[in-house]
Symmetry: C2
Subunit: 436 residues, 2 copies
């Protein structure tokens, strides 16, 4: 866990004026990381930090003469197209750079004149994945999602006996993860109607999104080593928004006995900005279970990392249809409802000696809240497609149509802290490509 | 599919004398690829081709002055530590280099004097993974394995209704794949005895191997594009031996509903040599189903790629225990028993637009044959640990013990063709590391 320090002071303001507006996602208390370049340019992608409506170009900042020592070494690790070298440096380097950026972007800082030349407006930027994602693992940490989906796939047996003991996870596809702005054709595949004797082939008819939080691994571990629950927070670089697209009809037919495959691996989309774990320190949340829930095994509890292991992170989801500019809100949920913490996911993932690498992405699983309206997927909101969801613009949806864009936003807000935001992840469904 | 050509001529011999012995795995008809350097040296790893008991150093060969045009370009793509650039070049480049190597390594070739200096004895070499494996997917293509394992995990429902329609696959962990020689600690994890009320934590008690064939993707496809069944063979670079280690007790407790995770991702081991798809042309095998089996959907059949879609590849497995030098054979099976072909796996994997990348590894799933003695895992050979397996050295095994090494070998043999071998994959179980 990170202690609060001067970088979290809600009174801090920046000489970048747009960082001081009440509704910005990127005040000086946030300082998230991405990989960017100017739109349509042939510039190399390099690391950037968001400040208000600007991006601090970290390759330029490394050459500005403003920074020295560990912060300068850290900046140099951010100057290439992938942030993996910086993520691998570990917590001391991350904190040192955060402090140095906070001090130099602060109102009144002497560095203002030198760093002004290192700013690029976000409106002129394009992004790529912030790092090379070696492996992607998806967990299943919302007990409300697991119960609701389980009741659709297995009405007689919705929540399996292992759920409250094992942080259930599975490996996903790294190659098809894209950054916000991604579009992809509706997937084709095999499906079988419950009353059909044979499967058939065609475009997915039950295309869905999943509102997830992505967790980026910073420091890795060697094969055979474990990351204990008490060490796990030091291995978390930061969080992003994550849409884990799902083809429900393909999933229902293929997932036994080895889990989801083609139902998931056609696309997954991350937000461009990684909100660092240190920036999230003011928003850690209590971790509560029902009194009747079992105490997890010792390797999942540790000394102190579960008591405030959650994140009070509001997650909003919107659908924008092809024929309208309206962003129709379909749900609001919160990551604090997760049954398992990020530290528990990491400790579990490595308890058998599995090696994590800097830049690995860990999905939280769909974050549905306790109320039906807080569900993080259409599968849940429409009760398996049986109850069409009315949109504010007058349309309805059971599952997604071609041309639909799904937008997810997230923010942390709390009395006594400066609100920080996650930006957004938006991606669009294109028509299926059916071969002649 | 590859046609037979002069490189397959069984009468060919090499000026490397060890390539002409009847029992070598690496006659001039084989010419498999690896990444190697001299043992214990600080040399850079680079591509190599096995010939008899020697390795042709491809970086040295590129500088030998012997090669020109496309073969030279291909050699230059093999000169670095990872073969991905060569794998990405596609079939024309692979074939051109194979033909050039066959002609220059042939008995009587003028290149002998120049290439003699490019040989490194295999006895002096060490290997790494032949390429960067971006994503690893494991299939489940032996119906005999699926039925036997299904009957242990789900006695009432061994072979699920989707098996004969869907080439079942799931994503595995790329980071923990190692090359032959890998050792790893016995994994720890949660298990639950059927009669226990709660799970417990500790070292795996049912550690197992899986005899698999690995398929390396050559040319990839863009996100949203598909690889049709008739194009799929052009995307297959070659095959290797693959041991997909499995912790059966961890698997039984964790695998519902999203599939295996910690039961598999602690280690997987490949053989150093990739046998090219072209080298395997003489050994393609008929693809037979029972008359009662359903005809697969059209995207899995195509015009001609299933009739000879199998590989007649003998797979042998041995256990070497800590206290003895004996290699105790425990099974012999054959990849021709696979219910789904490699081309079907690739076509299925991409039918939803999932992008494959050069160097991706596709596991065949455990290759068990129709007879119980041909099973590719201890789980099957011991019927779930109930019938200890006698070893030739007098010991018995239900599951693996610390210090056990598992050795897998493979070869193709047929009248009218020169026998070729796969070399071996060997790896060793170390004691669990239990934290105090």
């Amino acid at each position: 866990m990170y202690a609060l320090n001067e970088t979290h002071d809600p009174a801090l303001t920046s000489w970048v004026a747009s960082a001081n507006t009440p509704d910005t996602d990127f005040p000086i208390q946030n300082l998230p990381f991405a990989s960017f370049r100017r739109q349509g340019s042939s510039e190399a992608f390099r690391g950037g930090v968001a400040i208000g409506d600007q991006i601090l170009d970290l390759a330029a900042a490394a050459n500005s003469g403003v920074f020295n020592d560990l912060p300068l070494t850290a900046l140099m690790a951010c100057a290439g197209p992938d942030l993996n070298p910086f993520m691998a440096m570990g917590r001391d380097a991350w904190s040192a750079l955060r402090l140095a950026l906070s001090q130099t972007l602060r109102a009144g800082a002497l560095a203002e004149s030198a760093l002004t030349n290192c700013l690029v407006p976000q409106a002129q930027a394009e992004y790529k994945l912030p790092c090379h994602i070696h492996d992607y693992t998806d967990f299943y940490t919302s007990i409300f999602h697991a119960t609701a989906v389980g009741s659709l796939f297995r009405p007689d047996n919705p929540l399996l006996p292992n759920y409250k003991w094992v942080p259930i996870g599975y490996h996903g596809r790294a190659s098809s993860i894209g950054v916000s702005g991604q579009s992809f054709p509706r997937p084709c595949g095999q499906t079988k109607a419950p009353d059909a004797t044979e499967p058939s082939f065609g475009p997915c008819k039950r295309l869905d999104y999943e509102v997830e939080v992505g967790i980026y691994v910073g420091k890795g571990n060697a094969l055979g080593d474990t990351v204990s629950i008490d060490e796990a927070e030091d291995h978390i670089f930061g969080l992003c928004l994550f849409n884990d697209w799902s083809a429900r009809d393909i999933q229902a037919w293929e997932y036994q006995p080895l889990g989801p495959f083609l139902a998931k691996n056609f696309a997954s989309t991350v937000s461009p900005w990684i909100i660092t774990n240190e920036a999230l320190a003011p928003f850690r949340s209590a971790f509560t279970r029902d009194a009747a829930d079992p105490q997890p095994l010792p390797y999942l509890t540790g000394d102190n990392n579960t008591a405030q292991g959650g994140y009070d992170l509001t997650l909003e989801c919107f659908i924008k249809t092809a024929g309208s500019d309206a962003e129709n809100k379909v749900s609001t949920s919160n990551f604090r409802h997760s049954y398992w913490t990020a530290a528990q996911m990491l400790a579990h993932h490595t308890v058998n000696g599995c090696n994590l690498q800097p830049g690995d992405l860990i999905g939280s699983g769909t974050q549905s809240g306790p109320d039906h309206k807080e569900a993080g997927s259409l599968l849940e909101l429409t009760r398996g497609g049986k109850e069409p969801l009315p949109l504010a613009n007058g349309e309805t949806r059971t599952f997604l149509q071609d041309g639909d864009s799904v937008i997810m936003r997230g923010h942390c807000e709390k009395a006594g802290a400066r609100r920080i935001g996650f930006g957004e992840v938006v991606s669009t469904v294109l028509p299926a490509r059916v071969r002649a």
